[in-house]
Amino acid sequence: MKPFIKFFSSLELAIACMVLGLVLVFVGTLDQVHLGIHGATERYFYSFFVMWEIPNSEVAIPYLPGGYTVGTTLLINLITALFTRFRFSWKKAGVLMIHFGVISLLIGELVSSMMQVDSNMAIDEGATKNYSEDRTISELVIIDHSHSTTTDRVYAFPKAMLKTNHDVRHEDLPFSISINQFMTNSVIRKRDENTPSKSLIANKDIGLDYYAIETPKTGKMDEINRNTANLTIFDSEGNVAGTWLASLAFPLQRFSFEGKDYSLQIRNKRYYHPFEIKLIDFSFDRYLGTNIPMNYSSMIELTNYDTGENREFLIYMNHPLRYSGLTFFQSSFTPDELTTILQVVSNPGRHLPYISCILIFAGLSFQFGFGLITFIGKRLKRS
C-alpha cells in the first residue's frame, strides 16, 4: 500500500499530469480545425484515451491519455498528497486554498462534462415552442397519431441503434423497421437520368423523387451532419409494407398501417420543457453607418403550464434568461432576422467554479503576497 500511496501522492506524478495535460490541450486545439470544437472536445478532453484509427481498418490504438484519465489522475494525486504529505501551517494556508480551488475546478469540469446538456431553440417571430433540440444527436421517430384523440404517441430510436442492415422494433409497434442503409452525413438529390444505379430505391413518399449520397462526417460548428436512412417496414408476418427515405432534411412523412395513422421522420433529439417560450420580436442592431453588430436581442414571453407563471423577458448579449436550471442565451438567428436561435444549457456543475475562483484568487494572492513582502523586507534590511 505504501509505495502505491507514495506514487499517487508524488510531485513527479503531478508534473507528469500537467505536461500530459499541456500536450493534450495543444493537440486537441489543433485538431479543432478538422473536427470542430465539439468533435475535438469529445475525442481529446471527454475521453479516457485518444485513439488513433489505423487507416482502412477497424482497429484503433490509444496514443495519448484522454482528458478524463489526466484529470482524474491529477485529482487523485491532489487529494492523496493533501492527506499524506501536507502539513498545515499558516505559511502554507495559501497553498492549501489554491489546491482546494484546483480540486473544485477539476470536479466542476468533470460534472459539467458528464451532465451538461446543450440544446437549441429556434423560434420564429410570433411562434411558440416548448422544446429544445440537440443538434448533435438525432433519432428516428415513429409517431402514432391514432393513439388518442388529444395526444400522439412518439417512439424514438436513437441514432446509435440505426445501423446499416440492422432491424429496430418496439413491442408496442405492430411492425418492425429494417434499416437498409444509414448515412451519418449526406446530400439529397432529385432523381433524374443521372441518378447512380447503386443508390437504393424507395417506393414511398419523398423517396420516390429524391435520393441521398453519402458524404464525409463533419464536426464544424456551423455545419450539421445530415443523417439519412433508407428503411423498410415489415408487418409481423414479414411482409413488406413499403420502403422510405427518411432524412434530417425532410419533414414528417405520413403513412397508414393496418388502418392506423403514423408518420416517420429523422429529427434532432428533443427535450420537452414544462413551459413554453414565444418570440415576440428579434432585433439586430448595428452601429450607425456600419455592419458591425452592436446588439442582438430577443423579446420573449415565457408561460409555465404548471405554475401559471407568465412573463416577458429580453434576452440579449451577455444577458441570458435563467429559468428552472436552464440558461437561454442569444446564440444565432436566421439571415432574414425573423427567427431567433437560443442556446439552452443545463449545467448542474456551474456553481463550483465560483468557489474555485475565490479560493484560487485568495490562495495565490496570500501565498505570493506573503513571499513578496518577505522578499522586500529582506531587501530593505540589507540596504
Binding site: L11, E12, A14, I15, M18, V19, G21, L22, V25, F26, G28, T29, L30, Q32, V33, G36, I37, T41, F45, G108, E109, S112, Q116, D118, M221, Y287, L288, G289, T290, I292, P293, M294, N295, Y296, M317, N318, P320, R322, L326, T327, F328, F329, Q343, V345, S346, N347, G349, R350, P353, Y354, S356, C357, I360, F361, L364, F368, G371, L372, I376, R379
Partner: protein, 626 residues
C-alpha cells in the same frame, strides 16, 4: 550631479525629438490643414476627426501615414485627404497605391518603376519584395480587370486564396475606399458646390410642384420634372458612394445622429434650404478649388462655429483625438525604447552605473508616454484598455514594461531596463503591424460589449501574458549572456533566478485568475464555464506551463539553468496563446485572423527553441561560471 549627466542628456534628446515630431504634424502652409483636420465626421460607428480618417485611409492604401509632395517633402495625410475630398483630379495623379505583387503588375501591364531597392536585393528577397507605387490615373484603365479578379478571389475562403488573390482583394478594397472618399463631400459634377446649393434652393419649389402635379395627374412642367429627377439620380449615386457621414444633428433626447452630405438635397426639398453645416462645407470645397487659403480658413472656422452650435462636445472630443494623433505616443515610446536599449548596451560595454541610470529614466519616460497613449485610447472609445488584438499588443508591452521597471528598482542590475526596452519596442512594433488594416479604435462587437468583464477578465489575463513574456525574456538574456560572456557570476545568477521566480509567480496569479474570470464571464453569458474554445485553451496552456515551472522548481527538479530554459519555453506558449490561437480562425474568440503573421510567429518560436537548445550545452563550456 556628474553622475546624472548621461540621464539628463538622454532625456533632453528624447523630449526634443518628441517636440519636433509633434510640430511636424502641422504643415506650414497657408491653408490651415490642422484646423480642418479637427473637424469631426462619423465613420466605423464612431465620431472621429478628419485627421484620423486621413491617417487610417492612407495607411490602408499606401501603408504609410504620410505622403511626399512634388518636391519630395513629407506632408501629413490630411493634406492628401483634403485634396482627394475636394479636387480628386489632382489627387488622382499621386502615386499612392502600393502594389507589391508582381503578378498584379504584369496582369495590369503596369509600367515598371525605378525602385529604391536594387535588383540584387530584390532577387535575394524573392518576388514581392520590391514595391512600387501607382497613381489612380495609372490604375484607371484596369479597374474592370481588378474588380473581376477581386470578385473571383472574394468567392473563396481566405485560406484557399493565393498570394496574388489576396493582393488583388487588398488592392480592390483600397480602390473602393479611395473612390468613395473622392465622392464623399461633393459629387464633383459641377464646379461650385455653393452655387449648386443656391440653385437647388431656388429651384426646389418648382421641382416639388412638378412632381406633385404629375402624381395628382395634373398638368406639369416637363422640364422642371426632368431636372428634378436628374438631380435625384445624381444624389442617389452621391449617397451610395459617400464614405463617411458628415452632417450631425442632435435629437431632443441628446443623442447624435449623422447623415451623409447627400442628404443636403432632402434638407432643401423639405425645409427650403441647406443646413448651416452643409453650406459651410460647400464654401470650404469651393475655396479649396479656387486655391483661396484665406476663405478656406475662414470657412473652416465658420463650420466649427456651426458644429459648436449643435453641441460643443463634437469638436472638443475630436480635438482630443487630434491631440492623440499628433502626439503619436506609441511611435514616440518605441523610439524611446530603442534609445533606452542602446543606453543599456553602452552600460554593458563601459560606464555601467551612469548609462544604466540614463536607460532607467528613458524607460520611465517611455512608460509614461505609453500610459498616456493608452489613456487617450480609453477616453476616445470609452472602454477598458484591451478591446482587440492591436490594443492587447499595446497592453502586453505596457504591463511587461511596468513589471520590468519594478525589477530594475529592486535589483538595479540593468536587466529590468534591458527587458523593458526590448519588450516595449517589440510589442509596439507588433501593434504597428497590426494597425495596417485601418482604424484600430473600432467599435466592439456585440459579444464583447461588456465593460466590467473587459476591465477584469481581459486586463488581468493580458497582464498574465505580459509577465509570462517578461520571464521568458529574462531567461533569454540570461542564457545568452552567461553562455557568451563572463559577466554573470554566482551572485548575479542568483539575482536572475529570483527575478524569474517572482515574475513567474506573478504570471501564475494573473493568468490563473484571469482564466477563471473568463470562465465566469462565459457562465454569466452562456451558462457554461468552459467551452474548450482555442483562446480559452491557449490561456489554460499558459496557466499549466507556469504551474509546471513552479512545481518543478519547488520539487528541486530544476535549478537556475532549467528554470531559465523553462521560462523561455513560456515565450513559445505565450506566443501560441496570443497569436497562434487566432490563426486557427475558429471559436468565439477568433476576432483577429492574420496570415502573414504566421511566418513571424514561426520565426519567434524557432529563435526561442534555439536558445533553449543552447541552454542544454554543458555549463563547463559556458563563459560565465554560474
Amino acid at each position: 550631479m556628474k553622475k546624472r549627466i548621461p540621464a539628463i542628456i538622454a532625456l533632453t534628446i528624447f523630449f526634443a525629438y518628441f517636440a519636433s515630431n509633434y510640430s511636424k504634424q502641422s504643415p506650414r502652409t497657408e491653408i490651415e490643414y490642422t484646423a480642418f483636420g479637427k473637424t469631426p465626421v462619423h465613420l466605423n460607428g464612431r465620431a472621429q476627426p478628419l485627421d484620423s480618417v486621413a491617417r487610417n485611409a492612407l495607411l490602408s492604401i499606401q501603408y504609410k501615414r504620410t505622403i511626399r509632395d512634388e518636391s519630395g517633402k513629407k506632408a501629413p495625410a490630411i493634406v492628401w485627404l483634403t485634396e482627394l475630398l475636394m479636387s480628386p483630379d489632382l489627387a488622382h495623379a499621386r502615386p499612392i497605391f502600393k502594389i507589391t505583387d508582381e503578378d498584379i503588375r504584369s496582369l495590369l501591364q503596369l509600367p515598371k518603376k525605378p525602385s529604391k531597392r536594387n535588383d540584387l536585393l530584390i532577387a535575394l528577397l524573392g518576388p514581392g519584395s520590391a514595391h512600387f507605387f501607382y497613381s489612380f490615373h495609372e490604375l484607371a484603365p484596369s479597374l474592370k480587370t481588378i474588380s473581376e479578379q477581386a470578385k473571383k478571389a472574394g468567392e473563396l475562403e481566405d485560406a484557399q486564396r493565393s498570394r496574388f488573390q489576396k493582393a488583388v482583394l487588398k488592392l480592390a478594397r483600397a480602390l473602393s475606399t479611395y473612390t468613395s472618399l473622392s465622392q464623399t463631400l461633393h459629387h464633383g459634377q459641377v464646379a461650385s458646390f455653393s452655387q449648386e446649393l443656391q440653385d437647388l434652393e431656388a429651384f426646389a419649389p418648382a421641382g416639388i410642384a412638378a412632381v406633385n402635379q404629375r402624381q395628382m395627374g395634373q398638368e406639369f412642367d416637363e422640364n422642371d420634372f426632368n431636372k428634378i429627377m436628374n438631380i435625384g439620380y445624381l444624389y442617389q449615386g452621391f449617397e451610395q458612394s459617400g464614405h463617411f457621414l458628415s452632417l450631425p444633428s442632435k435629437s431632443e433626447s441628446g443623442e447624435f445622429s449623422w447623415e451623409k452630405m447627400s442628404t443636403v438635397l432632402s434638407q432643401i426639398l423639405q425645409t427650403g434650404q441647406a443646413s448651416e453645416v452643409a453650406r459651410s462645407y460647400a464654401s470650404i470645397v469651393d475655396a479649396y478649388r479656387n486655391d483661396d487659403a484665406n476663405v478656406f480658413n475662414e470657412q473652416v472656422r465658420a463650420l466649427h462655429a456651426d458644429l459648436n452650435a449643435i453641441d460643443r462636445s463634437l469638436l472638443s472630443d475630436s480635438g482630443v483625438e487630434l491631440t492623440f494623433n499628433f502626439l503619436e505616443p506609441f511611435y514616440i515610446a518605441s523610439v524611446g525604447y530603442v534609445m533606452a536599449f542602446i543606453a543599456v548596451i553602452i552600460s554593458w560595454i563601459r560606464s555601467p552605473r551612469r548609462m544604466n541610470q540614463a536607460a532607467y529614466w528613458l524607460v520611465i519616460a517611455c512608460a509614461v508616454i505609453h500610459t498616456i497613449g493608452m489613456l487617450f485610447r480609453m477616453y476616445i472609445i470609452g472602454y477598458a484598455p484591451v478591446i482587440n488584438l492591436y490594443s492587447s499588443a499595446i497592453f502586453v508591452g505596457w504591463g511587461a514594461v511596468l513589471l520590468a521597471l519594478g525589477l530594475e528598482k529592486f535589483f538595479k542590475n540593468s536587466i529590468g531596463n534591458a527587458t523593458a526596452s526590448i519588450i516595449g519596442f517589440s510589442t509596439l512594433l507588433v501593434a504597428h503591424h497590426l494597425s495596417a488594416d485601418g482604424d484600430t479604435l473600432e467599435m466592439l462587437r456585440a459579444v464583447l460589449d461588456n465593460n466590467f468583464w473587459l476591465a477584469t477578465h481581459v486586463t488581468i489575463i493580458t497582464l498574465g501574458y505580459s509577465a509570462t513574456f517578461l520571464a521568458g525574456c529574462i531567461g533569454f538574456i540570461f542564457i545568452l549572456m552567461s553562455l557568451f560572456s563572463d559577466r554573470i557570476d554566482k551572485k548575479s545568477s542568483r539575482a536572475f533566478a529570483t527575478m524569474v521566480y517572482g515574475i513567474v509567480c506573478f504570471a501564475m496569479l494573473f493568468s490563473f485568475v484571469g482564466t477563471i474570470l473568463g470562465g465566469i464571464w462565459a457562465d454569466q453569458s452562456w451558462g457554461r464555464f468552459w467551452g474548450w474554445d482555442p483562446k480559452e485553451n491557449g490561456a489554460l496552456l499558459i496557466v499549466i506551463w507556469n504551474a509546471i515551472i513552479l512545481h518543478a522548481r519547488w520539487g528541486g527538479f530544476v535549478r537556475t539553468r532549467g528554470t531559465m530554459a523553462m521560462a523561455i519555453f513560456g515565450n513559445v506558449v505565450f506566443s501560441w496563446s496570443w497569436f497562434g490561437t487566432n490563426m486557427l480562425g475558429i471559436g468565439l474568440h477568433a476576432y483577429g485572423f492574420m496570415d502573414k503573421a504566421f511566418v513571424y510567429l514561426a520565426a519567434f518560436v524557432a529563435v526561442n527553441m534555439l536558445v533553449i537548445a543552447l541552454a542544454a550545452i554543458p555549463t563547463k563550456y559556458w563563459k560565465s561560471k554560474i
